[in-house]
């Protein structure tokens, strides 16, 4: 555990929204050895990504997020442990929302603190690639046509493969 680690939970799964500034302040925790903080926020689009033309896809009215209580938290904790082994980082935070979300809502936050920027950028991307393919969350989109589970994307497995990890072998 690094000096920057605080008592705050590294992983939170919650219904309520989160505040980037407050989370970054908590992550830094007054530790002057931190020289870089990198954060990523995922948000709800109002259209399917697959539509080739803007306006061609059915608007998304809402998105429901389901998870596996217990396993989700453990899986993300293990991802952060891996990130700490691979990269020279002080600490990381992951917040993922569940329940009913609307277009433009924030879904996920990953924030990483390190001495220098490269390690924070890399660890942040590593955590998101890992989370996308290995953390048990499922999205269901609601459109005027009805509700539909989102299909997993092959591109997400390919993103994880960049780090030398095969999604199908886990």
């Amino acid at each position: 555990m690094s000096a920057a680690s605080s008592a705050a939970a590294r992983v939170r799964i919650q219904i309520q929204d989160f505040d980037l500034s407050a989370e970054v302040a908590a992550l830094r925790g007054g530790h002057a050895g931190i020289g870089a903080v990198c954060s990523f926020i995922g948000t709800v689009r109002d259209r399917h990504a697959a539509g080739p033309e803007v306006g061609a896809a059915e608007p998304i009215l809402a998105m429901e997020l389901e998870h596996y209580p217990g396993m989700t938290e453990k899986a993300i904790e293990a991802m952060i442990d891996q990130a700490q082994q691979r990269f020279d980082i002080f600490d990381a935070r992951v917040i993922h929302r569940v329940g009913l979300l609307q277009a433009m809502d924030q879904i996920v936050l990953v924030a990483v603190a390190s001495k220098h920027r490269h390690e924070s950028f890399a660890a942040c991307e590593f955590l998101m690639d890992y989370l996308k393919t290995q953390a048990p969350f499922w999205k269901k989109e609601q459109t005027a046509q009805g509700a539909c589970w989102v299909d997993a994307r092959v591109a997400d497995d390919a993103a994880l493969a960049r780090w030398g990890i095969s999604a199908s072998n886990l």
Partner: protein, 83 residues
């Protein structure tokens, strides 16, 4: 032995229940899956071979060749789509 089974997302909807407790003689997750498929039509459809399915043993993702343990928590779910 007895195992607790949990289903999530589209698999949960197809089976019709979120969790169930079953008595089994299966020695692996694959064998347990076969037993469940033989139960009834909803299980057969939800857990059908060829359907994209992931599984976890005691809350850790695993392959279906892993050995089943008495009292284990087994979960079946589709590929994840968080983030």
């Amino acid at each position: 032995m007895k195992v607790e089974i949990r289903y999530f997302a589209s698999i949960r909807e197809a089976v019709g229940v979120a969790a169930e407790s079953v008595e089994t003689t299966a020695d692996t997750l694959a064998a347990l899956r076969d037993e469940l498929i033989a139960l009834d039509a909803p299980h057969a459809q939800a857990l059908a071979r060829g359907r994209a399915l992931r599984m976890a043993l005691n809350q850790v993702m695993c392959r279906e060749s892993v050995s089943l343990l008495d009292g284990a928590e087994v979960a079946f779910f589709p590929p994840v789509t968080g983030g």
